[in-house]
Symmetry: D2
Subunit: 361 residues, 4 copies
Amino acid sequence: MAGNSIGQHFRVTTFGESHGLALGCIVDGCPPGLELTEADLQGDLDRRRPGTSRYTTQRREPDEVKILSGVFEGKTTGTSIGLLIENTDQRSKDYSDIKDKFRPGHADYTYHQKYGIRDYRGGGRSSARETAMRVAAGAVAKKYLRQEFGIEIRAYLAQMGDISIEKVDWAEIENNAFFCPDVDKVEQFDALIRDLKKQGDSIGAKIQVVATQVPVGLGEPVFDRLDADIAHALMSINAVKGVEIGDGFAVVQQKGSQHRDTLSPDGFGSNHAGGVLGGISTGQDIVANIALKPTSSITVPGDTITKAGEKTQLITKGRHDPCVGIRAVPIAEAMLAIVLMDHLLRHRGQNQNVTTETPKI
Amino acid sequence: MAGNSIGQHFRVTTFGESHGLALGCIVDGCPPGLELTEADLQGDLDRRRPGTSRYTTQRREPDEVKILSGVFEGKTTGTSIGLLIENTDQRSKDYSDIKDKFRPGHADYTYHQKYGIRDYRGGGRSSARETAMRVAAGAVAKKYLRQEFGIEIRAYLAQMGDISIEKVDWAEIENNAFFCPDVDKVEQFDALIRDLKKQGDSIGAKIQVVATQVPVGLGEPVFDRLDADIAHALMSINAVKGVEIGDGFAVVQQKGSQHRDTLSPDGFGSNHAGGVLGGISTGQDIVANIALKPTSSITVPGDTITKAGEKTQLITKGRHDPCVGIRAVPIAEAMLAIVLMDHLLRHRGQNQNVTTETPKI
Amino acid sequence: MAGNSIGQHFRVTTFGESHGLALGCIVDGCPPGLELTEADLQGDLDRRRPGTSRYTTQRREPDEVKILSGVFEGKTTGTSIGLLIENTDQRSKDYSDIKDKFRPGHADYTYHQKYGIRDYRGGGRSSARETAMRVAAGAVAKKYLRQEFGIEIRAYLAQMGDISIEKVDWAEIENNAFFCPDVDKVEQFDALIRDLKKQGDSIGAKIQVVATQVPVGLGEPVFDRLDADIAHALMSINAVKGVEIGDGFAVVQQKGSQHRDTLSPDGFGSNHAGGVLGGISTGQDIVANIALKPTSSITVPGDTITKAGEKTQLITKGRHDPCVGIRAVPIAEAMLAIVLMDHLLRHRGQNQNVTTETPKI
Amino acid sequence: MAGNSIGQHFRVTTFGESHGLALGCIVDGCPPGLELTEADLQGDLDRRRPGTSRYTTQRREPDEVKILSGVFEGKTTGTSIGLLIENTDQRSKDYSDIKDKFRPGHADYTYHQKYGIRDYRGGGRSSARETAMRVAAGAVAKKYLRQEFGIEIRAYLAQMGDISIEKVDWAEIENNAFFCPDVDKVEQFDALIRDLKKQGDSIGAKIQVVATQVPVGLGEPVFDRLDADIAHALMSINAVKGVEIGDGFAVVQQKGSQHRDTLSPDGFGSNHAGGVLGGISTGQDIVANIALKPTSSITVPGDTITKAGEKTQLITKGRHDPCVGIRAVPIAEAMLAIVLMDHLLRHRGQNQNVTTETPKI
């Protein structure tokens, strides 16, 4: 059943398998008049791309995106924008090992059960390769949000295994292969990854994504709340198992007198809420965390069954990240951008103006 | 903008303010032939209702639901089901204190900024009273899921403040006012609540919700994943700040060899995934956690501003739960039921059959 | 499956059967700040109501609407508006005759086949009584469109049987029971209806609905065109079998040089297009026609079958309009209002301004 | 705002301009296991293609479609199907004449007003070239409907100018360039077109589209009725100004005793309803008519204005059909197929079985 679209007013629909001919998407609802070229999208695609460092998978795809429609003389026309990335690295690999076995921890089993048929080449549609189009679509939203409202959306690696960052220096994030904002932790992350490679194992990660300069008033109670839609968008990223807004699970141990963000004529006194109250943006930074599971594509042998239901074992060979969470940084940014864009268009439809001058922390 | 609906195939749309004439909802898409009476809904409404114990708010509403349409001679007809609960406890209270002030930690400020107008009586639309209709609609879904597929959906209080349960005895949950499955913790919860009442403060909570006997194959990649839709539905509950599927944030510290659920001819070897792989149900239990913030309706004075932007202070008097999380138990069940129902109808539309005979842990 | 909603941004969802407890609807997405009372809705409800004249069915329902939510201190708050009409005329009628027979030309057979169960009392959900809620919801849209943009939406009876009007005097429409804008035809319509009553038969009708002062630019290519959405909304009215925009079926015989509406600095030279080009409003009047079939509720006996598949005959007794088309006048206005409202909010979300100063005929 | 999708359960989203790099679409929700190759789509694309005869525009495009995803080893996998047609005939034409003028009867003026920017090359997004992707997507639906349920969807030219067909011989339709089912009229159509070419003018057309073997029970009251969704889909085709179901506008002059389709144990006695009662399919043939306006792309000069608002005149040179209605035959089939497919999936989701054994005429 149709499930490959996100957003109602700014709607992104994607297609494409890991080892098919191409990946593509349609960005529907982008307002007219936005200057847009392939270069605007390529930057984030390159940040997401595998093979950019020794810490991520060595698959080499240029991931070169083409804009096929919706842009005329360098500007969006308000019509649907078609984007395409051809798969160039379809090396004729031997998939006989996973063709009839279900890799544990992967979507092999569920796709097989749901559809009765499964494109087993590299995970097919369930591969994280699909997220390339999210990043391309998100880059359209990011550009519009930045240009029209000064909204910036950035993410970073907050934790990998039991190593957590201790400070956030935004200027550092693009200086290392981990999107790590704490220069003092880079070496530890590096050591952890090298160690995992040796073990043939993988590790989970926590990413924080932040949007600044967000107008107050975005979000539609009671079901289409801004935070609910963010949770949906972030949980739809491959490998994500948890989403927090603001203080997240820490609130369980907080008292009301601690948690609530007081207000003064100068703005909010804190941002425990993560920029959303009652499902509507407060004008403060939107802050969300996501937890990404360790990839199951590891060389440690795992018990599983064949399509015929027989006991077997499996080793996932090939080019795989020991920490898929790292590459989720640009993906998380893209998903948050898509949600904010969607809500911004919804809100503007009703109210005619978008207020940004509000008390903030 | 329209935001009061959830679900595409089983769609619930609600209306109603805390102190308006009535709350109501329309349940659209319930299959025909389901036996349904008010009594089927009243049980969960009573579980959610305030005033049932000394631990929850003392507002006394019978919360008596009426079925206005969609049922004929005791069975659903396939047409839209109208549900109504009249507000009987609209005691003429003095709201002058909050009329022109924004309660910190509440949606007062964001509603005011978004809409320019605000029904300040008891929080209006942003009040948790709205969730009564979710529970009523969810009860329709619960009955269908149970009857047609044997699916059971149950939740419990897993943690309050720093007190966590240590065992889950499903039979205990309805025996205490906390929906606590660990009889040994009831007294501690009781003591904590009494202490908070004295302080005029409140506390957060963690709820776990579990669905059993879920068919394999529910969920539509890539955006309408089952886990993404669950995250959306649970995060849309008032006060929720975090959602986990399966191991949730614990995955950050897990290795792939630990996390992945192996398969054998007898089923899965574990359920770290929480019953969802690649956005599709595995046939195992669906397991989700939510974090609920401590209510901001406390008598500890809080700094805030008036509508005119002037500095002031506020005490929230009246009938309020020290732990709103407790009452979220039936609400979380209802939301999970609505999502599963929606996906079950979607899945069946495509595949004609719903498989339940699958290897499970 | 969920099918009782219309509109995405201004969304109306209805419930209720002909002889159930009540009819209701939720109007979701109405902007805040609109002054709204029951009186704003009652006028159109009274125009639609049966029993207002001897030409329409003698069922007597006050059709008194209550606003249950979404309005505070006389103004809309931006939250969902709950509307309710209680069914007071549920006279305990004998339905044994139609309980097990399918009335030819009615939805009895299709509802039975689709759902396997059918509320046979007065047609249940398939009764035109359902349209009362459309009229109530449409009245909200009409008020907003009029107040914010000066848009007026009016309909009239253009033809009944082979009697067509020959002139349109808007001032006459509310002066007669036929919504007839040609005072010279009223007597002929009257005679026709009296004749049909004697025969126990019924007749079809054509209604024209017109919106004036419509801003240019409403409508979203390529599928959500304004004219396509109007066609959807009007065809969803009970008994409608045809929809035309502008010249409609007359275009089949027109040449391009005749049909195209030329432009000059003073505006369009004609309005063959009916106010829509390429799916987008031109700023001219929106003009649409609908064809309504003669009701099948007649006393002329008709061949049919029983639920068991046996041959039988049926006479539909009771209170029925010989021309259901007449009462479609306020319904058509309501549906056009809902569509325009929806598109206006969509358009505004994207473009931030709504242009009304455009060349018009 | 997002408007380039149709369908909820079988959802088609398109992109592409007349003279852009490519046209494309995503077919989302096709059930798995359907054998599908490009050849299945190419047949209908060739029927729609311009340049196939001297009666239609001489633009020469191979319209070769590529399947980029969603099919594996010759079968659909249940994931989204990406389709692409590259534009090969982008001859560097001189558009200076229409760049700053609004062609009367075209969407130039409305696109300009709505978006403030316009791809003027060949009409850009408003060009009928966009319908190629509808035909490709519709071919997927047609194949599924035929294979799974034996549903056939066919259309023909029923009228052009004042020449109407007098008989329907389905075998003749593909034997002539007009999709004319009445061999005796072909010469008259031919003469009319030749005459119009000489005059530099164009003519309207009426198309009838019929679906046979349709299961009973498709359609969701009250707004998502089958006939309402058909009206939406058909009115969304370029140049369509009217839609009829069954007897359509003829019902205005019919009596109830004439119009209603009686039932007997052998089936319906007639099909005035066109296969839909109460918004639900009866199991009879679905019959719909559409009226297509004469194209405004003619060489008869027309008054218009420039972007600056100054009076001017325009002649539309180039390769244009004197009757765009002819090519609407495969497009109408495609749109009806998409709607039926969508409703079939919806219906099946709720009821688990699809009944086809019903009394029919």
